[in-house]
Symmetry: C2
Subunit: 320 residues, 2 copies
C-alpha cells in the first residue's frame, strides 16, 4: 500500500513538473477509470487554477485545424507553454484527417512545451465529458500557460465548451453557403471572439460585415460588457494570428478587471459538478452490485409494462 | 381534482386521435415541465410503440432540409402520416434559415397529417434531451406512421440519435471539402442508410465511390447483418427519394425479420432511462429544498477548497 501511495504521489509530482510521459499516463488513467484516479484528479485540481482555458470551435471547413497550428506557433513565439485537448472528430489533432495538416503540425509534436491529446467523445452521454474536463485539469496542474479545447461547433458540444472555458473563439470562413451562415447565427452568442478565417478570399469582407451586423443586432456585447471583436485571419500564412493572440490576452485582462472572471469560474465549477453527477448517477444505475437490475428495468420499459420515468426514479433511489 | 383528471384524460384522448392543437399543447406542456405532465407522458408512452422512428442527420450544407421536404412528400404520397421533430439549429424546420425552404415546405405546414415541431437543445446537457424523446413518444401515441428526428450530425447529437431511432439516415453531398469528408468518416458507422444528395453535381460519383470504399473497408454491415446502401438523391427535383423510402421500408423489414428490432428497442429504452436519470439527478441537486446547497457547493469547487468529485458525491447522496 505504501508503495502504491508513493507511486501515485510521484506521478502527481512528475505531472506537476510537466513531464510529458507522466501527463500522458495520467490522462490514460482518467480515460480508463483506473483505481485511485479520482483521488489523483482531486489532488491535481486542488493544485491547478493558473492556466487560461480557451475553447476553439466552428463548423467543419472553416480551416480550424490550420488556424490552431498557427495559433500555437504564435503562443510559443511569446514563450507560452500550451496544452491542447482535441475533441473534434474531423481534426488532424484528434487523429483524423489530412496528411498536409499532420506535416504542418510536425514541429508542434516535437516541442516539449506543447502537449497535444485527442479525446473521444463517441459513446459518451453529455457533450464535454468528465474525462475531458479532468484532462484539462491535468494540463492546468502540469503548468501549461494556455489550454486549448477544440470542438466542432454545430451541436451540443459548443454549448458545453462555453461552460468549461474562460474564453471561447468561434472560427468561420467566407463562402460556406447559407446553411453554414445559419449555423453561425446559431452560435453567435457563444463567442467571446469571432475569427473569419481564409480572409484572402474575395467574399471575406461580406462575411465579416454580416457577422458584425448580426452582432450589432444582438447588442454586440458578451457577458460582462466585453465588445466581441470580429478578426480576419489567413491561417495558411499566419496573417492575423498575432491579433488573435492579442485579443485573447485583452479578453483575459477584461475578465479579471471587470470581475467577470469570478462569474465564469463559478459557471465552470457548476458545469464540472453537473458533469460528474451525471456520470456517477449513470455508473451507479448500471452497476449490477447496487440497486435494482438495470437490464430488467430496460426490459420493462421496452415492453411498455412500466413508464420510463417511474422506472428511472426506482433506479435512482435504489442506487444511492 | 376530478375536473383536472378529466381534462388530463381528454387531452390524452385528443392526442391519441391526432388532434393537432392537442399534440402541440402536449409538447408545450413537456417543454415547460407542467404539473402532471410526467403521468401524461407515461400514459402516452404505454399507448404508443407503433411508429417507425427515423433519425436524419448530416453536416450543414448537405441539403438536408430540402431532402427532408421531398422525403415527407413521398411518404405522404404513400399515405403515411408523418411527425417531424427538428433539433437542427440550421434547419428551416426549426425556425431558422432560408425563405426558399419555407416556401417549399408551405404545403407540408397545411397538411393535417404532417406535424412539424422544432425543439431547442440549447442550454441542455446531454444531447437529445428528455423533452425530445418525450415529444417523439407523443407523436408515436398520436398515431403518426413515421416520426422523423432531424439533427446536425457532427457532434454529440448524432451519436444520441442512433440510440433514439429505429433507422438512422446520414446525408452528405459532393464537394464539401476534405474537412467534411473527415467528418463523414467519423459518422460512417452510425448510418443504416447513406444518402449522397446533390447527386447531379459532376463530382457526385467520386463521393459515392469514396463512401462505398470506406464502408467496404469498415466491413460494410451495420448491426444485425444489414448491408448499408449508399443512395444518390437530387432533393431539389425529388430524384432518388422514392428509392430512399423503399430503403427505409426494407431496413424496417430487415430489423423485424432478423430479430434486430428487439435489440434496437432495448437500446432505445436504455437511452431513454439514462436521459431521464441524468435529468432528474440534475434537477434534484439544484433544488434548494432538498439536500446540500448547490451554490455553496459550486463556491467550494471554484475556490478549490474541495475536490469536485467529493462535492458531487455529497450532492448526489443528499438529494435522494
Amino acid at each position: 500500500v505504501t508503495r502504491s501511495v508513493d507511486s501515485a504521489q510521484s506521478l502527481i509530482e512528475r505531472v506537476r513538473a510537466g513531464h510529458v510521459p507522466s501527463i500522458a499516463r495520467m490522462i490514460s488513467r482518467i480515460e480508463s477509470g483506473s483505481d485511485g484516479v479520482v483521488e489523483q484528479v482531486a489532488e491535481l485540481y486542488r493544485l491547478g487554477g493558473d492556466a487560461r482555458i480557451v475553447g476553439i470551435t466552428g463548423p467543419p471547413g472553416a480551416g480550424k485545424s490550420t488556424l490552431l497550428t498557427s495559433l500555437v506557433r504564435e503562443l510559443r513565439a511569446r514563450n507560452k507553454t500550451v496544452g491542447i485537448i482535441a475533441i473534434d472528430p474531423s481534426s488532424p489533432f484528434s487523429g483524423g484527417s489530412i496528411l498536409g495538416d499532420r506535416i504542418r503540425m510536425g514541429e508542434l509534436y516535437h516541442d516539449p512545451d506543447v502537449y497535444i491529446r485527442s479525446m473521444a467523445t463517441r459513446g459518451a452521454l453529455g457533450g464535454l465529458t468528465r474525462a475531458t474536463t479532468d484532462a484539462v485539469a491535468v494540463l492546468d496542474a502540469a503548468g501549461k500557460d494556455v489550454v486549448l479545447v477544440e470542438t466542432v461547433g454545430v451541436g451540443q458540444d459548443e454549448v458545453d465548451i462555453v461552460r468549461a472555458c474562460h474564453t471561447t473563439v468561434v472560427v468561420s470562413a467566407p463562402g460556406m453557403g447559407d446553411d453554414v451562415q445559419a449555423v453561425k447565427a446559431g452560435i453567435l452568442e457563444i463567442a467571446d471572439i469571432h475569427v473569419v478565417n481564409k480572409a484572402d478570399r474575395p467574399d471575406a469582407n461580406r462575411t465579416i460585415r454580416e457577422l458584425k451586423t448580426m452582432l450589432k443586432d444582438a447588442g454586440e456585447l458578451s457577458t460582462g460588457g466585453w465588445k466581441i471583436p470580429v478578426l480576419a485571419t489567413v491561417a495558411e500564412d499566419g496573417k492575423g494570428v498575432d491579433e488573435l493572440v492579442d485579443a485573447l490576452e485583452r479578453h483575459y485582462d477584461h475578465l479579471v478587471a471587470s470581475g467577470e472572471m469570478e462569474e465564469r469560474e463559478r459557471t465552470m465549477a457548476a458545469h464540472r459538478l453537473k458533469t460528474i453527477i451525471q456520470n456517477v448517477a449513470l455508473d451507479r444505475i448500471e452497476d449490477p452490485s447496487i440497486g435494482p437490475d438495470f437490464d430488467d428495468a430496460v426490459e420493462d420499459v421496452r415492453l411498455r409494462k412500466r413508464a420510463p420515468f417511474t422506472v428511472a426514479l426506482d433506479l435512482l433511489e435504489g442506487s444511492v
